[in-house]
């Protein structure tokens, strides 16, 4: 048995013993409150709801530039393309509505969720490709292009709804996925040995070279995102991969288990915040 597996089993056994002993153990809701409180304490004049705007909630100068961009945002062209893609029927005559339903405004808010049948975290982008494959269409690549445009159209339609990620009480597998995402967020990785929390929690608001580190609270609310750096639209998992590369950690596959579990955890941390995608960022 691998060395890592042995340690993992030991750690879980210890956790189990603690639970058995009745000590206080973190629940997702407890996690979420502690997470949110961390940021509202660190940035004390910013209400939790503002964090969906990332650095623009905490830095006045860049907010001015961002508001000017939002006046006529670059992702508008992508939303239009996304609408065309979404409404176009598949070769078999069916449309995306046959998978997602007729009410466009509720689609974005349904993801990510725990898919009990497949026993995995289901994301919007994965659901889009599942829909395509169910209708004999080729799947799309997950980081940019058509998948991002479709996602941007759906995100726009879902703006204003509250994030409400559910971890079904009767599913230990769902809880495990949440815990895996949580562990990923707080684990150091890469040659530079940074965890997501090192930059986006303990150093949020500080600078890394010329950029401000955004708070992790609100991170998932505004995807897909038009990044000036990319000169285009990209998905959440594209951003995860880029961040991992930044600390010299080999990125995981977009829509693979690691990033879907991370999305599950991060989105849960944003429960109660408003969906405001697609977003524009530096």
């Amino acid at each position: 048995m691998g060395y890592i597996k042995m340690i993992r089993i030991t750690a879980l056994t210890i956790l189990g013993l603690i639970l058995f002993a009745g000590a206080a153990v973190a629940t997702p809701e407890g996690d979420r409150k502690a997470f949110s409180d961390f940021y509202t304490n660190r940035f004390s004049d910013i209400p939790a709801s503002d964090f969906v705007n990332g650095v623009y909630a905490i830095d006045a100068a860049s907010r001015v530039q961002w508001e000017q961009i939002e006046d006529f945002p670059p992702y508008e062209l992508d939303i239009d393309d996304g609408e065309v893609l979404y409404q176009a029927p598949f070769a078999n005559g069916k449309t995306y509505a046959s998978c997602f339903g007729d009410d466009l405004s509720v689609i974005r808010g349904k993801y990510p969720n725990w898919d009990a049948d497949k026993a995995i975290v289901m994301t919007l982008e994965l659901a889009i490709n599942n829909c395509r494959e169910a209708n004999n269409e080729k799947p799309l690549k997950y980081k940019k292009g058509a998948i991002a445009q479709l996602s941007s159209y759906i995100a726009m339609q879902g703006r204003g709804n509250s994030i409400n990620v559910v971890i079904p009480a009767d599913s230990s597998a769902a809880m495990e996925a949440y815990e895996n995402g949580k562990e990923f967020f707080y684990s150091k990785r890469g040659q530079l040995n940074f965890s997501c929390s090192d930059c986006h929690m303990s150093n949020s608001g500080n600078k890394v070279r010329a950029d401000l580190l955004s708070p992790a609270l609100g991170h998932t609310s505004h995807f897909p995102v038009y990044r000036s750096k990319w000169g285009g639209l990209g998905t959440l998992h594209r951003r995860f991969g880029g961040c991992n590369k930044n600390v010299r950690a080999k990125p995981f596959s977009a829509q693979g288990e690691e990033y879907r579990n991370l999305e599950y955890f991060l989105s849960y941390m944003n429960n109660g915040l408003e969906l405001n995608g697609p977003g524009a960022r530096k």
């Binding site: 006046d71 006529f72 670059p74 508008e76 062209l77 239009d80 000169g231 285009g232």
Partner: protein, 102 residues
């Protein structure tokens, strides 16, 4: 629509016209992965017209990046007037769209 989105709003004496233009804006200085130069393909001129009369001309060059955004403030048009924004690029391709002043 041809890849231009435009908005025009009257504020006081002047109309602010904003346009987002879909265009690769290739400078001609870049090279592809094999080292071959990517030919220049960028907007060279943008024109704003009202009733067939040119209100403003902008000369764009290779230094402007992809999908450019332009904001113009012009005096003259009134609410309800229809304006036209058009661009032409170095390959001779062009696009235009109409926008009503709000």
């Amino acid at each position: 629509m041809a890849g231009i989105k435009a908005k025009a709003k009257l504020k006081g004496d002047a109309v602010k016209v904003k346009a987002l233009m879909k265009h690769p804006m290739e400078s001609g200085l870049r090279k592809d992965k094999k080292g071959n130069p990517i030919p220049a393909h960028h907007i060279t001129e943008i024109t704003l017209l009202a009733g067939g009369e040119t209100l403003m001309t902008a000369n764009f060059g290779p230094a402007v990046s992809k999908n450019p955004y332009i904001s113009m403030i012009v005096a003259g048009p009134a609410k309800g007037d229809e304006l036209t924004i058009a661009w032409i690029d170095n390959k001779g391709e062009s696009a235009s769209t109409e926008v009503v002043v709000k």
